[in-house]
């Protein structure tokens, strides 16, 4: 059974539909990279998978999120909660603001073991220190006595990752875990996550806009554009022969170091806001291959080789 | 007409809260202006045999200890209470904007002096500041005007200064300066207009508070002096009759409360229509 499979997922916030027909799957030991520029719907997808949409006033309007055979979108908040933190862990974008600034690190990590493993205070602290030490955090006992503002960004992100690991989850959703960090620390964090997937056999959804990172660690890739799935393929096939012109543009950006959020140097323009989604293929105003049909008809997802693509004129060998 | 309908005030009036609150404010002003045409009674003619009459068909709100019709006195009292509060706040806003804009724009030592004085008075309750000022100037309408005006000066100075500080570094100001605009021009044409919306809305809300303050001063016998009717003054004389004729303080108090609620609701709706909630904080 696939660990997580998202089928035709749609999300609504108020009157708008920022996500429409998203599908992908991830299994144990796999790293699915969810890529796209800012505004493409990656973070919303992460919130939908972890059932946190209501916090930002959103809701799932269609499709399913099947985790270990259970459709999470059908669960009530109370039934969903045991999955959060214990079976599906979440790593937020900015480690600087991810931790409660007025609570010491110790209790913030301990709560995971107390809540999900039923340990008492002493055992939970031991478990916290053990997990922090496994992530090569020096002097973990002292770190537990610190406040977040006393630690570096990289250290905080390691702590957030440690927090995610305490409950021994099956799946980790990491929403751009490195964007707020220094370049050298970025690489450390990415490799840490990749090694955890290998050693512990967990599934990882890695949200990023850095195609370089994708090429290094991902096993599968799902490309989002303006709230729709553009292309989904195994990583090798995707880089060898991208089918969607947007994917091609993203790959073309790799040599230019880390891409600035929201700026795609390969092609002009930016992702349209949810209120300005164009009719037809949402990418057509920025697409070199666009023809009349792209302005009118939404391209259906079609199979290409080992994956799927939503384009009227897919590239590669098709 | 469409310009008015699309203006923030027009949008405010189209919300239910804004419409009811705005309607009450307009109605009250009309009632105050046309009071002589609306009531058969005089506000200052005593009729001792008819004193302490409870509310009835002849006297909807009853009569006071001198037999004067309370509704009539409330309508005339609205003239005093509303105009004194509005004029006092108007003076306060004008002075506060000049002080705040100067402090924010000039900066340096001048700013520090103004800010520290303003902060000192700001932490004192308005009623204390007003009480002391009335003691200096003497009771009456002039004293009340100055007392309320000074009591709120700190608030408007702080708010204006905060607005000016927030925008004085922005590109359009730098651009104007590089084009050779004078300081006065920059202040009058660029900075103050941009600071205007939050300051005016907070002035509107402060007018509500000022009505309460005016009533409180009147209650202590320090506001408009008899026979000029004011809501606070009516309640002041009503206190002695609290057990005998509670309506004498009940109705003026209700007039204050409903008016202040209406002003608050309207101001709240206006803040929403202008989308300036975050800019309303001066601290």
């Amino acid at each position: 059974m696939t660990l997580l499979s998202v089928e035709n997922l749609s999300v609504g916030i108020g009157q708008v539909r920022p996500l429409d027909g998203i599908s992908f799957a991830v299994d144990r030991g796999e790293i699915l990279a969810l890529v796209g520029e800012s505004g493409s719907g990656k973070s919303l997808t992460a919130l939908a998978v972890t059932g946190l949409l209501p916090l930002i006033g959103g809701r799932v309007t269609g499709g399913s999120v099947t985790f270990d055979g259970v459709d999470l979108t059908k669960l009530t908040e109370a039934r969903l909660r045991p999955y959060r933190g214990k079976r599906i862990a979440f790593i937020t974008q900015n480690p600087m603001t991810a931790l409660d600034p007025v609570q010491k690190i110790g209790p913030q990590v301990d709560v995971m073991a107390r809540l999900h493993l039923g340990l008492d205070a002493r055992a939970a602290r031991a478990r916290s220190i053990e997990t922090l030490t496994q992530l090569r955090i020096p002097d973990a006992a002292a770190i537990c006595q610190s406040y977040p503002h006393q630690l570096s960004g990289g250290m905080k992100q390691r702590i957030v990752i440690a927090m995610a690991l305490v409950g021994a989850p099956d799946l980790i959703v990491a929403d751009e875990p490195t964007t707020a960090l220094d370049v050298t620390v970025q690489a450390q964090i990415v490799h840490l996550l990749a090694s955890l997937v290998k050693e512990r056999g967990l599934g990882l959804i890695l949200i990023t806009h850095d195609m370089g990172v994708v090429a290094q660690v991902a096993t599968h890739v799902a490309v989002l554009y303006a709230g729709r799935l553009a292309e989904s393929q195994p990583v090798d096939a995707l880089f060898a022969a991208p089918a969607h012109p947007y994917t091609t543009a993203l790959i073309d950006c790799i040599p230019r170091e880390a891409m600035a959020p929201g700026a795609l140097t390969g092609i002009p323009g930016a992702v349209p806001g949810v209120a300005q989604y164009p009719v037809g293929c949402r990418f057509h105003p920025r697409c070199g291959r666009a023809e009349a049909v792209c302005q009118n008809d939404v391209p259906a997802l079609r199979s290409v080789r080992s994956g799927t693509v939503a384009c009227h004129f897919p590239g590669g060998e098709a | 007409m469409t310009a008015l309908a699309d203006s923030p005030v027009g949008r405010t009036l189209r919300t239910p809260k804004g419409a009811i609150a705005g309607g009450w404010i307009v109605l009250l002003i009309l009632l105050a202006v046309f009071a002589p045409l609306l009531t058969p009674y005089e506000y200052d003619v005593q009729n001792l045999p008819g004193a302490f009459a409870p509310p009835s068909a002849q006297h909807w709100f009853g009569t006071d200890e001198f037999g004067r019709d309370l509704l009539t006195r409330i309508l005339y009292g609205a003239r005093t209470s509303l105009s004194v509060s509005a004029i006092a706040i108007g003076l306060s806003v004008s002075a506060g904007m000049v002080l705040g804009a100067a402090a924010g724009y000039i900066g340096g030592r001048f700013d520090r002096i103004v800010t520290s004085i303003v902060d000192l008075t700001w932490s004192f309750p308005e009623i204390l500041v007003a009480l002391i000022l009335v003691a200096i100037i003497g009771p009456g309408i002039t004293g009340t005007l100055v007392a309320i005006g000074v009591a709120y000066l700190a608030q408007f100075t702080r708010l204006t200064r905060a607005q000016i500080m927030a925008i004085k570094g922005e590109t359009f100001v730098e651009a104007a300066r590089s084009l050779g605009a004078t300081d006065t021009h920059i202040l009058l044409r660029h900075l103050i207009p941009n600071a205007l919306a939050p300051v005016l809305v907070s002035a509107m809300l402060a007018t509500g508070d000022a009505i309460i303050l005016e009533a409180t001063l009147g209650f202590f016998g320090l506001g408009a002096q008899p026979p000029t009717p004011s809501w606070g003054g009516m309640m002041s004389s009503g206190t002695a009759q609290l057990f005998k004729a509670p309506w004498i303080i009940l109705f003026p108090g209700l007039a204050v409360a409903i008016t202040v609620i209406a002003i608050n609701l309207f101001g709240d709706a206006l803040i929403r229509a202008l989308d300036i909630r975050s800019r309303m904080r001066s601290a």
Binding site: T50, L52, L55, E77, R81, P82, Y83, R84, G85, K86, A89, F90, T92, Q93, N94, T97, A98, L99, D100, P101, V102, Q103, V111, M112, L115, H116, Y147, H149, M163, G167 | L120, S123, F124, P125, E126, I127, L128, L131, I132, A135, I136, I212, A215, T216, F219, F220, G232, M235, T239, L242, F243, P246, I249, G253, V256, A257, V260, I261, N264, L265
Partner: protein, 308 residues
């Protein structure tokens, strides 16, 4: 932390000095000669001169100020012109009443205000929220003295539960505390609600939800903790509001507090008493601000770090 408190206390000294000058100056702007109220009808200029000299009112203002300040530092606040009692005695007799009233009103508005604000924030945009915020709006727009009179009418006259006025026993405190406390509750509830909503939108709250914590626990243990920081700061800054409320409410309920003393002294042009009352109120405001800063440092490790 202790060092910080001491440093702040020392920093209060120049403020205290400035405030004392301002108060002294203001008092001497008040027109009306206090000697007038002491002279018997038909007294001549000689008696006036004698009385003026007795109270030191014939000396230059700076000298009067220096004498006043010097005496103040030894605990001597002067002698009341009306009644000729030591001002310190009058103030000390009034102070406990005002402290009890103000303290209880502050306590009442803090507990009620935070409670209502939290409930309104948790039930945001539902009828519960609207009902609470509607009540809060009404509570903040009723003139304090009027509310007090209505409470007297209802609970003292109609139900006869509490005494109409005076300061005998705890029951006489209930209505005055309610009168001031309802206005304060409105302020605290409004600030708490906004602070809760603002804090619940922070990044770390999202992660707390993702960790699988119960939403109520997140709201009460984490979000409220953050929301309390601005609430405490504003409460401390606005201790003056409670004092202002106390002044009017003491008069309405005929309670022998600082407010009553101040209003009476203002009417009688009794300078030394007015000065002493204003000074006490000013000190309460200054100490309130200090308390707010200290509490903020105690509640927020980032502020503590910035101070260290």
């Amino acid at each position: 932390m202790l060092g910080y408190v001491l440093k702040r206390l020392v920093m209060l000294l120049p403020v205290f000095f400035a405030v004392s000058v301002v108060i002294f100056a203001i008092i001497h702007l008040i027109p009306g000669d206090p000697v007038d109220s002491l002279l018997k009808v038909g007294s001549g200029p000689e008696q006036r001169a004698i009385l003026t000299a007795r109270y030191g009112l014939d000396r230059p203002l700076p000298v009067q100020y220096a004498i006043w300040l010097g005496n103040l530092l030894t605990g001597d606040m002067g002698t009341a012109i009306v009644g000729r009692r030591p001002v310190a005695d009058l103030v000390m007799a009034a102070l406990p009443h005002s402290l009890a009233l103000g303290g209880l009103a502050l306590l009442f508005s803090t507990i009620m205000g935070i409670g209502l604000g939290v409930i309104a924030a948790l039930k945001r945009d539902t009828w519960v929220d609207q009902a609470i915020m509607g009540g809060v709006l009404i509570g903040s727009t009723l003139p304090g003295f009027w509310l007090g009179l209505l409470l007297i009418l209802a609970f003292s006259v109609h139900f006869a539960w509490f005494p109409v006025s005076g300061a005998r026993g705890w029951s006489s405190l209930v209505l005055p505390v309610l009168t001031i406390g309802l206005g304060g509750t409105a302020l605290v509830a409004r600030v708490t609600r906004v602070a809760m909503i603002e804090a619940s939108g922070r990044d770390f709250v999202l992660l707390l939800h993702a960790k699988g914590l119960h939403p109520l626990r997140i709201s009460l243990r984490h979000v409220l903790r953050h929301a309390l920081i601005p609430v405490v700061t504003i409460l401390a800054l606005r201790i003056g509001w409670v004092l202002g409320g106390a002044v009017t409410v003491e008069v309405v309920f005929a309670r022998p507090g600082l407010g009553t003393l101040l209003i009476k002294a203002l009417n009688q042009h009794d300078y030394p008493v007015v000065q002493a009352c204003l000074l006490m109120l000013a000190m309460a405001v200054m100490l309130g601000t200090l308390l707010g800063d200290i509490l903020q440092a105690a509640m927020d490790p980032r502020v503590r770090a910035a101070l260290a």
